[in-house]
């Protein structure tokens, strides 16, 4: 009797130990994962707006002559960029990246609307804007208006721009803030992407906002 017990006793604890070990490993992994995701929520690549505010609405003229307001696109993520079409370096790079980001979202990309507000309404006529935007993505919309209207919208969004009389054959150049602002589906200004943010990083951030 005493012998039987002593031979059985080491057998059960071995099985017990293995099961327990496996079980507690899973449990631990689960707890660690949960804690990690609670402590480290998704970290955005773009600059996160602290205490996001509702983006102020405006009405400008779309590149096909149609009036465009933010409220017409509520429910979508809106990306706003201020630029000018005579710019062959920074603006095309940004727009091409936004196109790539939108493409890499697949179907979800339809939920992203890109606007470029011209800071050079004198040279960027509706026709020029339409041609420029469609070169990058047929869904992109160029926005224009009177210099006063554009200045007002830029001020809302903390965008600076200035005409610079350079000694380029181009004539004047435009200095401008080259960030992309993201307004979420509920109309809150959420993220700012500095120039040069990788397309995939933008896509990841947008994907997070779209899938929450």
């Amino acid at each position: 009797m005493n012998v039987e017990e002593s031979t059985r006793a080491p057998k059960r604890p071995t099985w017990f130990f293995i099961l327990w070990a496996v079980f507690s490993l899973f449990l631990l992994a689960g707890i660690v994962y949960l804690a990690w995701s609670l402590l480290n929520p998704y970290s955005f690549h773009g600059v996160v707006m602290q205490s996001p505010q509702k983006a102020r609405d405006f009405t400008l003229t779309g590149h096909n002559g149609q009036p465009v307001s933010l409220k017409d696109y509520s429910g979508k993520i809106i990306l706003i960029y201020f630029g000018y079409t005579t710019c062959p370096d920074v603006c095309p790079t940004t727009l091409a990246d936004l196109h790539t980001a939108r493409e890499s979202l697949g179907q979800l990309g339809d939920q992203v609307q890109v606007f470029m507000v011209t800071v050079d309404p004198e040279r960027d006529t509706q026709a020029v804007l339409a041609d420029y935007m469609s070169h990058f993505d047929s869904s992109f919309i160029g926005l224009t208006g009177s210099p006063e209207q554009i200045a007002e919208v830029a001020t809302y969004y903390g965008i600076y721009y200035e005409r610079a009389e350079g000694n380029s054959t181009l004539g004047y150049l435009m200095d401008h803030t080259a960030t992309v602002m993201a307004i979420d589906q509920d109309g809150y200004l959420r993220l700012v992407f500095p120039f040069g943010t990788a397309a995939q990083d933008i896509a990841d951030d947008l994907n997070y906002l779209l899938e929450r």
């Binding site: 079409t85 005579t86 710019c87 062959p88 370096d89 920074v90 095309p92 790079t93 091409a96 990246d97 790539t100 026709a127 020029v128 041609d131 420029y132 469609s134 070169h135 600076y160 721009y161 200035e162 610079a164 350079g166 000694n167 380029s168 054959t169 181009l170 150049l173 200095d175 401008h176 803030t177 080259a178 960030t179 120039f195 040069g196």
Partner: protein, 149 residues
């Protein structure tokens, strides 16, 4: 006699060394360009941009002072740069220095060759001719492939 001969030889060698050294100094900038590409342009666009990596394997610095192309009426060397919150683009004054033994990369958001008054839109898959002009190395012709990005 033999001392005279060896003296002549030494004098000749010295002279040869001086001549060769000065020749080498004259061509002290050795420029090579690689990875040239241009960005496709919208149909109505007046401007375009191209990028290239310039290497100076010589022992003397050089300057990229200009460029010409069959694809545009005017070609300028430009730089895009951030100043505070503003993105600015300006022609590079006095040329772009390519230091001896150094490499300068022209890339989006930085130095670029700006094509102004395009002859026709830059289409993906086509090639344009661009000649870079250096202060010392002279003309460096390039075949530039047009890409989307």
């Amino acid at each position: 006699m033999s001392t005279l001969r060896s003296r002549t030889l030494i004098a000749f060698l010295l002279l040869a060394t001086i001549v060769l050294t000065s020749c080498q100094q004259a061509s002290g900038s050795k420029i090579s360009a690689s990875d040239a590409w241009g960005r496709s342009s919208p149909m109505m666009a007046q401007t375009g941009a191209m990028y290239v990596v310039i290497e100076n394997q010589g022992n003397e610095s050089d300057r990229l002072i200009g460029a010409a192309s069959d694809a545009a009426k005017t070609v300028e060397v430009h730089e895009s740069y951030m100043e505070g919150d503003m993105m600015k683009m300006r022609p590079v004054e006095g040329g772009l220095e390519i230091p001896a033994g150094g490499t300068v990369e022209l890339k989006p958001g930085g130095y670029h060759i700006m094509l102004i008054d395009l002859v026709s839109p830059l289409e993906v898959g086509t090639k344009i001719k661009v000649t870079l002009k250096f202060e010392k190395a002279g003309d460096v012709p390039l075949e530039v492939e047009i890409r989307e990005q």
